[in-house]
């Protein structure tokens, strides 16, 4: 009850900030559309490969505005008011996560509709890919909570843009990671973004063999560790922010 109430409030805060909708939904849509107009001679830009990349790219903006929302609540003392209420820390975290879910749904539905309009063959696997991407989004929401718990409102969006850049450069959505050398490719393997794209791609294209155990382990480990860090850090920062004079 309290969790849903907090989620509802967070959702309203997000959708009433038009910039978040522009960045999280319209920009990835525009990129998906534009890159399909150029007929680039690379497999990366074929719809079955590029669409999952766009989904994960959209999630990086979810990290950004989760971070902004959390840091804004921290610095405006809104969390002090809630801190003396009967709300429990787990209700805050779930409230932030649940608020983002409708935005994730909107992103996914629009990205896949556009992809189908542009020529991606529709199949039931697209529905499975959408469902899997909800699980993937938890990693990005948790990353946003960590950034928002540590940094100020102004710094948060800057720091979160690093996630956007990391997705672009290490997920393999724009170019194969091998292009930048063996060392870089190895680093990408141990970052979660390439695994996120590969998992959604594998499900969407019904190519489960393309998803390696490494992809699943790296993604699952990052998601669990990042989520736990987000919960602990949020609680810790909520208390340390309340050191008064």
């Amino acid at each position: 009850m309290r969790t849903m109430n907090f989620a509802k409030r967070n959702f309203k805060e997000i959708i009433r900030d038009p910039l978040s909708v522009v960045f999280a939904v319209l920009l990835p849509l525009l990129l998906l559309f534009i890159f399909q107009q150029f007929k680039i001679p690379s497999d990366n830009y074929r719809l079955e490969n590029f669409t999952p990349g766009i989904v994960v790219f959209g999630f990086s903006f979810i990290s950004m505005f989760t971070a902004t929302l959390v840091s804004k609540d921290r610095t405006s003392s809104f969390l002090i008011r809630l801190g003396v209420s009967p709300m429990k820390p787990v209700e805050y975290i779930l409230g932030y996560v649940l608020a983002i879910i409708p935005m994730i749904a909107l992103q996914n539905v629009l990205f896949f509709i556009l992809a189908v309009v542009l020529g991606l063959p529709f199949s039931v696997h697209i529905i499975w890919a959408i469902l899997v991407s909800f699980a993937v989004s938890v990693l990005f929401i948790a990353l946003g909570i960590i950034i928002g718990s540590v940094f100020s409102e102004k710094a948060s969006s800057g720091i979160a843009s690093i996630v956007v850049q990391l997705v672009c450069f290490t997920s393999g959505m724009y170019f194969p990671r091998e292009m930048l050398g063996k060392g870089f490719s190895k680093v990408c393997e141990f970052l979660p973004f390439e695994s996120c794209v590969t998992i959604i791609k594998g499900v969407m294209n019904n190519d489960l063999a393309g998803i390696t155990p490494r992809n699943i382990i790296v993604f699952a480990a990052y998601t669990v560790v990042v989520f736990v860090i987000a919960v602990v850090l949020f609680q810790k920062k909520m208390l340390s922010d309340n050191k008064g004079s």
């Binding site: 009850m1 309290r2 109430n5 907090f6 509802k8 409030r9 309203k12 805060e13 009433r16 900030d17 804004k72 405006s76 003392s77 809104f78 002090i80 008011r81 809630l82 801190g83 003396v84 209420s85 009967p86 709300m87 208390l239 309340n242 050191k243 008064g244 004079s245």
Partner: protein, 242 residues
């Protein structure tokens, strides 16, 4: 039974002692003001009394309940209006009130909100987004939200800071109307605010409660004609800077 009772309350942050052993008793229904210089420990004291942070040592009883053991129960019966207005900026005033009513799971939510709207005369700003309101309105809304759970104890942390004279006087009227019904702990930098609103005043300096009394008693103790002079005298006794 006292509304608030503390024994040797201490809060330390590594090498810094923010609150250095406070003994305080506040009667039910009393409006008690905490005066102090910047860094005197007022806000830390309020945060401990309101259960937001735990003391390093010492004891706090809220209406006879222990702040550590009965934290969850205590949170149902107190509320706070923080120094910053602390309202959801993109939500309307009505949505802010509804949100906090749901946080406290108020059963007669609609009636309670109507009562607060009437008390604070919020009708004209009810549909407006909180971030579009003036500072005075935001403070009013902030205090209205803090009353949503009909708290027995209300903490007002510098409620009129930065407001113009008219907005300040309006808020004083609202705070006056709550006197006697709710125990109020008010921190302020404004001497006339403490003198006009509170029954007793506590003066804090360097983490300690150096004196407590009515405005008249404090003036008498310090041998000064105004509360401001009495405050400077009492807060700096022992060579501490004002």
């Amino acid at each position: 039974m006292f509304a608030i009772e503390t024994k040797n309350l201490v809060k330390k942050y590594k090498d810094l002692t923010a609150v250095a052993g406070i003994d305080l008793k506040v009667q039910e229904g009393e409006l008690f003001a905490l005066l102090g210089t910047n860094g005197a420990g007022k806000t830390t004291t309020i945060k401990m009394l309101s259960s937001l942070i735990l003391p390093t040592s010492g004891e706090i009883k809220i209406l006879g309940m222990d702040i550590v053991k009965d934290r969850q129960k205590i949170r149902e019966i107190l509320n706070v209006s923080p120094q910053e207005t602390a309202i959801a900026p993109n939500l309307s005033v009505k949505e802010n009130l509804e949100f906090m009513a749901n946080v406290y799971q108020i059963p007669d939510r609609k009636e309670k909100i109507e009562e607060l709207v009437k008390l604070f005369r919020l009708e004209e700003v009810l549909p407006k987004k909180a971030k579009t309101l003036s500072g005075g309105w935001q403070r009013k809304v902030s205090i209205a939200i803090a009353l949503i759970n009909e708290p027995k104890i209300l903490f007002l942390d510098e409620p009129t800071l930065g407001l113009d004279v008219i907005a300040r006087k309006e808020l004083w009227t609202v705070i006056e109307s709550l006197k006697g019904r709710i125990t109020i702990i008010l921190t302020t930098h404004y001497m006339e605010e403490a003198e006009s609103l509170s029954e007793r005043i506590g003066i804090m300096a360097h983490g300690k409660l150096v004196d407590i009394g009515t405005a008249a008693e404090l003036k008498q103790i310090a041998g000064k004609d105004t509360l401001e002079d009495a405050f400077v005298e009492l807060a700096t006794k022992g060579g501490a800077p004002a």
